[in-house]
């Protein structure tokens, strides 16, 4: 694999990581929004899964459980970009 094709694959991987992180952020936002809208409805019924009532803390934890990996993926993509920049600087 030549350096040029390797760098191209790294860029593709970094872009893929950003896309996956966007999906995770959307999931986090969706479930948070679902919880908030459910709370705003008149006569709202608390959400429950397997006997566990989903309160605010549970909603926060579930949002963090997807947004945190999403943030890590974005940071990884950024690190790949820095690596490519450093590689270009060394090659230049």
């Amino acid at each position: 694999m030549t350096p040029a094709s390797r760098n191209l694959w790294l860029e593709i991987v970094a872009f893929g990581l950003v896309l996956i992180s966007l999906f995770l952020f959307v999931v986090a936002g969706y479930f948070t929004a679902m919880f908030m809208i459910n709370g705003l409805l008149p006569n709202s019924v608390p959400l429950e899964i397997r006997g566990v009532v989903l309160g605010r803390r549970e909603a926060l934890v579930s949002a963090l459980s997807t947004s945190l990996p999403g943030a890590v993926l974005v940071a990884t993509a950024w690190a790949l970009r820095l690596l490519l920049v450093a590689e270009k600087r060394c090659g230049a």
Binding site: R50, V61, L64, L68, P69, V72
Partner: protein
């Protein structure tokens, strides 16, 4: 970075990670998880100590292996490279002195190296392996009955640490620090999740402080190992980059000595003008010097010889001019038939009426070069970059232009009958 260094580092990192992991399991495990019956009579501290002590041999094995590899292999390789860098300049200068002494002897025998055979042990005395080979290649190139063949140089034994840190080790260092950051955040998240919510019950996990401590603790252990490993590798990378710069400067110094002394010796030879012997010895010196130079050095020497009008007297077929840097050089009517100019940089060079028959110009950079009337019959121009190259009246019969980039190049006109086009 040499493979030995990377393996030594990975063994050390494995040992550290196992130490932290077994330490955590040994001291936190008995508190979190009830030990089985034979061990449940022990106190938690004693049990932890026993578990940790029994796992130490397993943990120590990769660490000891990595330490042995580092001290007995890596440090020896680095010491050899450092010694060569420190003393290389002086040894090269004394080797050049020896070549200066050898040249008049060759001239006295009409360039016949076979006549000097009884003296070879004297000339090669106290020389290291690579320099002995260089001297013997020079004598072989002089030959006994006409221009001898230049034997290819032996592959250079690259001393450890002469290559700059590869992107792989840099990526690994970034990766380890990234894993450390992620595991730290995830450990904090696990603690927060277990202490503030009941989500664990959905997955049938018991909540509470113990689960939080055990879950987040295991994440922090991995984070600590990855952080220390990433920092250590980052430090190693910077050290390698510094060594590489220092070694490169030392090698460049040696190349400058080779170029300067070689030029001086050739100038002295051509002043003698002893006919065929001068040409034979000059060719041998030129061809045996080329492999020791970098692209800039090769280009400088070639341009100097052409400017002085000495190239015509040397038969250079097979000369190793790979990567020669000849940007903007005036090589009009140069005679380089059969030479290897693969990867040479000839951007903007003047190659009017140049003789490049049978040359290897694979991957060469000929952008903007003026090669009008050049003889490129049978040349290998595969993958050459020839944007805006002027090839009018050039003879390209039999040339291989596969994958060559001829964007906006001026090609010879086959209809007008000037030059020739590849079949």
């Amino acid at each position: 970075m040499s493979p030995a260094k990377v393996i030594a580092f990975l063994l050390g990192l494995a040992s550290l990670a196992l130490l932290l992991l077994f330490g955590f399991v040994a001291f936190a495990g008995p508190i979190m998880v009830a030990p089985p019956p034979p061990l449940d009579k022990q106190s938690e501290g004693c049990l932890g100590l026993v578990l940790f002590a029994s796992s130490l041999p397993l943990v120590a094995i990769p660490g000891i292996a990595g330490a042995c590899l580092w001290f007995f292999v890596v440090r020896k390789q680095e010491a050899a490279a450092n010694a060569e860098a420190v003393s290389g300049l002086d040894r090269e200068a004394s080797f050049q002195d020896r070549l200066d002494g050898l040249t008049p002897r060759l001239l006295a025998h009409g360039g016949d190296a076979a006549a000097l055979a009884p003296e070879i042990p004297l000339w090669t005395r106290d020389l290291d392996g690579p320099r002995q080979n260089r001297l013997l290649r020079l004598l072989a190139a002089c030959g006994g009955e006409g221009p001898g063949e230049i034997a290819p140089p032996l592959p250079a034994i690259a001393a450890a640490g002469t290559a700059s840190p590869a992107w792989g080790t840099r990526a690994l260092s970034f990766g380890l620090l990234g894993i450390a950051a992620f595991c730290t955040l995830w450990g904090a998240f696990v603690a927060f999740a277990n202490l503030t919510s009941n989500l664990g019950e959905i997955l049938d996990l018991p909540g509470g402080p113990k689960t939080a401590a055990y879950g987040s603790g295991s994440c922090f252990v991995i984070a600590l190992a990855a952080f220390l490993g990433g920092l250590a590798l980052h430090w190693l990378n910077r050290r390698e980059a510094r060594r590489h710069r220092w070694l490169t400067i030392a090698q460049q110094g040696a190349r400058d000595v080779i170029l300067e002394r070689g030029r001086r010796r050739l100038a002295g030879l051509f002043q003698q003008d002893d006919g065929a012997a001068t040409g034979r010895i000059g060719r041998a010196h030129f061809l045996s010097t080329l492999p020791e130079l970098d692209g800039a050095g090769k280009g400088s020497l070639l341009a100097w010889l052409h400017a002085g009008g000495h190239l015509a007297g040397l038969a250079l077929a097979g000369a190793d001019l790979r990567g020669a840097e000849l940007v903007g050089a005036d090589l009009s009517a140069v005679a380089l038939d059969g030479t290897d100019l693969s990867g040479a940089v000839l951007t903007g060079a003047r190659l009017v009426e140049a003789r490049l028959r049978g040359c290897r110009l694979r991957g060469a950079d000929l952008r903007g070069a003026n090669a009008t009337g050049a003889d490129l019959r049978g040349a290998d121009l595969r993958q050459a970059r020839m944007h805006r190259c002027d090839l009018r009246r050039a003879d390209l019969r039999g040339a291989n232009l596969e994958e060559a980039n001829l964007w906006q190049a001026l090609l010879p006109d086959p209809i007008a009958g000037s030059g020739g086009v590849p079949s």
